[in-house]
Amino acid sequence: MNHMPKLNRRSFVVGTATAGLSLGFNVPFLTATSAQGAPEVNAWVVIKPDDTVVIRIARSEMGQGSLTGLAQMVAEELECDWSKVTTEYPTPGQSVARKNPWGDFGTGGSRGIRTSQDYVRKGGAAARTMLIAAAAAEWKVPASECSAANSVITHKPSGKTTTYGKVASAAAQIEAPADVPLKDPKDWKLIGKSVKRLDTVDKTNGKMMYGIDMKLPGMMYAAIKACPVFGDKVKSFDAAKVEKMKGVKKVVQVGDNAVAVVADSWWRAKTALEALPILWNNSENAKVTSASISKWLKEGFEADKAFVNNKAGDVKSGLGAAAKTVVAEYAYPYQNHACMEPLNATALYTADKCEAWAGTQHGQAAFAAVLEASGLPASKCEFYKVMPGGGFGRRGRSDYVTQAVLIAKQMPGTPVKLLWSREEDMAQGTYHPVTECRMTGGLDDKGNLTSLHIRLSGQSILSSLRPEALVNGMDPATFAGLSPSGEAAIGYEVPNLLVDHSMRNPHVPPGFWRGVNVNQNAIYLESFMDELAKMAGVDPLEFRRRLMAKYPKHLGVLNAVANGIGWDKPPAPGVFRGIAQHMGYGSYVAAAAEVSVNGNNVKIHRIVAATDPGYAVNPGQIERQIAGSFVYGLSALFLGECTVKDGAIEQSNFDTYDSMRIAQMPKVECIVMGTGGFWGGVGEPTICVAPPAVLNAITAATGRRYRSFPLKNHGLTLV
């Protein structure tokens, strides 16, 4: 995903080469917040004469709120007036031309803030230093006698003041300081505050511009169908059958596996595409079914060889010596992201330039896709980010950008907006990978867990998307939350422990997905901890605590939700509780749920959630991420499944791949712990604890343990 081709670098002046100007057409998102013409203090900060502060954001906003969080980080050090802050995205083309001053544009793995916090704060601090230096030079006083707050610079001895807007041009001429000290966290004024998002108003009045809303003069619309059997190709298609249909401009093959119809409206393009006869060259892939995949994965439970990620003691002899052993097998399905906005991209290819617009989680990867698909050098390409209607990992891939460029290339001079139908979006996902798991636990005669073997069997995302990230063939990401240390460490000490993975990669393409590997691993481990506790005859919370002495941060969030739900007091009659904890993306997370079960109807009354991301940049937005992630995670638990038949995905739309509604939403109470000292992620970690907490509560209510998902397959309905 981080692959970038070798590029020809060419000088580039910020703000002068926007597509809007080159087309002589007002593309709203490019000009509305554009810092064009205003002094750029440094790569991160532009200040207009009216004191408006434009903060550049390299990572993508897709709903998770990090646009606002990152602006808070820069503004904290900049000491600017928060009410005058706006943001803009630099383009990946500018990034290349300027030798990458903004670092990584990639937005996934809950890394938006935690892996850029250092340099974005330094960007703000450097700009502040330069602004103060400019004022001091104008006043002919030492900079050390000046200070800045709220966009106002004050010379203390004389009482003179000026504003950022007045000195920004001069500051832009000052050499950037080599290094700047950052504030002590105890002095933060903006980081840690629940300020409002910067991008809300336009999302309430229809003005926010998403990729699907792109309009360019003379633009045509494309609908596309790729081979439903992953990996298989187009054999032939009969364009003559639809070319005369009203509005149809062209029928084109896209790459080796897709066909698109271009028309003067998307509805006409889609209607013609549905009437277009297409034949596919099918391979052995067309014989794959969910059952054949599951059979193959179950064979992985017995495989002699497996990648070992976490090992302590000797699990085989430990299990042999156990007073009691428990064995349980779990399975987790393929799931589609189903972003509310179906995938789309707009491209314009001319003899000397190729430009594309789309919502993406990775501007640089999308830019690389434009280069590769157009065949043009970086100096002749540009990519512009627009607001995505959800990402969840799917928009980290650039396949839809590639397709748009390949179509536009066949219609030089005509802008083309490619929009996938929801059905295409369901059929051409990069799916939450499929895994199964065999858990084997051994208890001593006092009910202590002495041995645990976690055998994962199934698909690796990195093998498919980033094979260079494999470690001697092993996919470390598969073990999220089960690893010995790092950003996704297990929180239990077991004397004899073995966590290993029999890698089995079906032809269905896997992808990163909100939470992804922590989702199934938390279900496997935290469901099984309850199974072990039951066998040991010990309260599930107490059973966990006994194993967590060496994991105070994991224990911290677990205790927080136990207190929050009132674990030491009985729930209301008919209400049952479950609890779970896990770690992912550098944050510690836990949940405690209260449910009642009436026949097959499950009602989740309440979930108390805790997260410790170290530094909590915007607690109000973190709470929204927690509650929102539970909707995504509980939709997956109860409803989310993509099944495979004849090598293709069977589900086609929200009628067969449903999602939670407001009526099913439990009350979510958030505890944002923010103990400081480290930077953990926010968008994803909490998603994984809601399902096992709810599952454990369902078992407490019914006595039944569910080990395959979604729960709709067991007849359970979330009400």
Binding site: G63, D199, T200, G206, P388, G389, R422, Y632, S635, A663
Partner: protein, 149 residues
């Protein structure tokens, strides 16, 4: 030619009468606040008001919409003043990605017209829009706040 009245303005459009209203609003007339999510009236992202009633515009043909009073998200505010619902949405920071929120706001606005003080049960029954970011907790809070305003 089909005549439509959208947000008080007339439009004549030259499209097949069986074209879904959604695509005429978005692509023919060019008002893109109304969103496409599923095309089968499941998700609610395309909700508009037809004679005041919340309607999923992907499931209604433009032929059937002719002569009716159509209101889209762009036409909700009166004289540029955001409605109570829109104000409550901003005050509660409801949207995340925001893509479904046009439809959500249109559905809620119709509910409040019918039931100015809806109970949680009223909300559960009337608001069936999908939001994959999952901002339902904020939606509920904002509905109650708008009802109080």
């Amino acid at each position: 030619m089909i005549n439509l009245t959208i947000n008080g303005k007339s439009h004549s459009v030259d499209v097949e009468p069986d074209t879904p209203l959604l695509w005429v609003i978005r692509d023919t007339i060019g008002m893109t606040g109304t969103k496409y999510g599923c095309g089968i009236a499941q998700c609610g992202a395309c909700t508009v008001h037809i004679d005041g009633e919340a309607t999923r515009s992907c499931g209604m043909t433009v032929g059937d919409a002719a002569g009716k009073k159509i209101t889209t998200i762009e036409g909700l505010a009166e004289n540029g003043v955001p409605t109570k619902v829109q104000q409550a949405w901003v005050a509660n920071d409801v949207p995340q990605c925001g893509y479904c929120q046009s439809g959500m706001i249109m559905a809620v606005s119709a509910l409040l017209k019918e039931k100015p003080k809806p109970t949680d049960a009223d909300i559960d029954q009337a608001i069936t829009n999908i939001c994959r970011c999952g901002t339902f907790q904020q939606v509920r809070a904002a509905i109650h706040e708008a009802a109080k305003a």
